[in-house]
């Protein structure tokens, strides 16, 4: 499923003194199969945007009570927002949002805070039951297979953890269980809001490896929100930079981090490799790398072998 978004705006507490414009005309396309990154400051609109993707936040025109605003004479109507996820039109009242949500999985920040059931098995199976259509049944056997598959994908053993309380697990394991509870319904798009936040470096690495395992055979498209530029450089096919509710840049990491000055002026970090490339440039060495660690070291070593041009 492809995500197409045009002219999307969103205001919290609209019409009140606390109104805050969180999105201001966002246009963005995510192709099927991407590992897409979203970067930006706290308060730049990243989370507001991703919450639109499975209609947790709604485009006003998709709400039942929506009535188009009457225009004053001579007033030009603002461009209509477009938001499509696969075949679902999220601006349309008639869209089957229930079906959409089953196909777009959302993992919030600190998903382990949302664990609630008394056993891991029940917690992971919750989504399965929740997404059953009226009259649809799920046998114990089917449930077990699905839960076991999901746990296995996140690197946990069903027999070992299924009957445990999720609250007795370690922090990293809890997060895995929480992710398993989302992927268990086999969503086509998986959206994660800072999946590695708060973990130690090793935990971070494990979560990113896990996401690569999920990406592809389990979920076709993965969208991550991240503050960690190294993570973006290393893992994403493309990334969008949010600032003050707008998308200011959207490109593969290789092109994105070449614009180091722009990112820095927005108060964002750049990956370590980009910092090194800048420092090397000041020393008269131009390095054309894609900002992954592997490529950076390979290019430096190639220069070493080939001598300086």
């Amino acid at each position: 499923m492809r995500i197409v978004c045009e002219n999307l705006s969103y205001t919290y507490n609209a019409g009140s003194p606390f109104a805050v414009k969180a999105l201001d005309g966002v246009s963005l396309t995510v192709e099927e199969g991407e590992f897409f990154g979203i970067i930006g400051h706290t308060g730049s609109g990243k989370s507001t945007f991703v919450q639109h993707l499975n209609a947790l936040l709604r485009v006003p025109s998709s709400l039942k009570k929506y009535k188009p605003k009457k225009l004053k004479k001579g007033e030009v109507p603002p461009p209509a927002p477009v938001l499509r996820v696969g075949e679902y039109d999220l601006t349309d009242k008639k869209t089957d949002f229930f079906a959409l949500r089953k196909r777009v999985g959302m993992v919030f920040q600190y998903p382990e805070h949302q664990l609630f059931a008394e056993t891991v098995e029940k917690d992971v199976a919750f989504g399965l039951k929740n997404f059953l259509k009226k009259g649809e049944k799920l046998s114990d056997e089917e449930r077990k297979v699905a839960v076991s598959d999901a746990l296995k994908t996140v690197g946990l053993d069903y027999d070992e953890v299924a009957e445990k309380s999720p609250f007795d697990l370690s922090g990293g394991q809890k997060r895995r269980v929480a992710i398993a509870g989302v992927i268990v319904t086999k969503p086509e798009i998986l959206v994660l809001d800072e999946p590695a936040a708060g973990l130690d470096p090793l935990g971070k690495q494990e979560i990113m490896e896990l996401l690569h395992r999920i990406h592809g055979d389990w979920c076709k498209t993965v969208v991550i929100v991240s503050h960690d530029m190294d993570e973006i450089a290393e893992h994403c096919t493309r990334a969008a930079v949010f600032s003050e509710g707008k998308v200011v840049m959207c490109a593969p990491p290789k092109e994105l981090f070449r614009e180091a000055e722009t990112l820095l002026s927005l108060g964002l970090d750049i990956p370590l490799t980009a910092k090194l490339c800048r420092a090397l440039k000041e020393r008269g060495i131009d390095l054309d790398c894609d900002f992954t660690l592997e490529d950076f070291t390979a290019k430096v070593l190639a220069l070493k072998r080939g001598g300086m041009a």
């Binding site: 936040a197 090397l280 430096v300 070493k304």
Partner: protein
């Protein structure tokens, strides 16, 4: 004088009759005015160490002394006035809805006179750079700002030792830098002894001394720069190399003469020197 001293401290969490040692025979001391970073992977005993330091947890064996006062039942509240702890989650550490009320909470609890509380709030908010938020609503602050308010609340008690227990783990990079800067300033300007528990290598670099914990024991100790240079050893304690360490290692394995460093400029210098040197020869 030692700000805090652990002598042969044991601590075990007991679960279903089983006792698992979390801290075993720990000996370590922090001097007054020192800034010490404590590193370790999850489950290494870092947070237990913080909780033992002001009597939230009671050791099963050994002795803890804080500014020459033994940490025991009799002196528990004296010690707590001297040791402030800032925890991980900013949302769990604020109690009032208005910033100044929140900062005053601890000071009110120890029944300081009213005027004194006012002075302490001024001091604490100024120390964390949040003066202009005195009358702001806590709920509307960012994570980094909330964490600074939590620090101010602890500061209002004028502790001599402050422990930051992964106080930056839930913040974005900007919030993280804010908190690290505050910790550094409190140490330098207010002469407060700081123990910074973290898994961010850059933060540990601010410290005078770093300690690596593994399974409740100290396995490495020294200047942060020296510790980070011991890449292989860090790996054995389940601490990953900082990314720059990985680069140094790969380049060296590829035959370049670069030393282990955490400074991008230094590394760039070395790479440039190596490449240009290669050209000249």
């Amino acid at each position: 004088m030692h700000a805090i001293e652990f002598e042969n401290v044991d601590f075990a969490y007991s679960e279903e009759g089983k006792r698992e040692f979390c801290i075993k025979g720990l000996n370590f001391a922090v001097e007054e005015g020192e800034f010490v970073a404590v590193l370790g992977h999850n489950g290494s005993g870092k947070s237990t160490l913080a909780r033992l330091s002001n009597g939230i947890l009671v050791p099963d064996g050994g002795k803890i002394t804080v500014f020459d006062t033994p940490l025991d039942d009799k002196h528990l509240f004296d010690v707590r006035k001297q040791v402030g702890v800032v925890f991980q989650n900013p949302d769990n550490q604020t109690v009032a809805s208005i910033v100044e009320d929140d900062v005053a909470f601890g000071a009110e609890n120890v029944a300081l006179p009213r005027e004194e509380i006012g002075r302490r709030i001024d001091f604490a908010l100024q120390a964390v750079g949040m003066e202009e938020y005195r009358h702001a609503t806590v709920a509307r602050l960012s994570g980094g700002q909330k964490q600074r308010i939590a620090i101010a609340g602890v500061l209002a008690l004028k502790p001599r030792l402050m422990i930051f227990d992964e106080a930056t783990a839930m913040l974005d990079p900007k919030g993280r830098r804010e908190i690290a800067a505050v910790a550094k300033r409190l140490n330098e300007e207010e002469n407060i002894t700081v123990i910074l528990i973290t898994h961010f290598m850059e933060e540990a670099l601010l410290a005078d001394r770093a300690i690596v914990l593994n399974k409740g024991e100290i396995v490495m100790e020294g200047a942060p720069k020296d510790i980070f240079a011991r890449h292989e050893e860090l790996l054995t304690y389940n601490l990953t190399l900082p990314r720059i360490g990985t680069i140094c290692k790969t380049l060296r394995e590829g035959g370049m003469s670069v030393t282990d460093t955490l400074d991008t400029d230094l590394l760039a210098d070395e790479i440039a020197r190596d490449l240009k040197g290669g050209n000249a020869s």
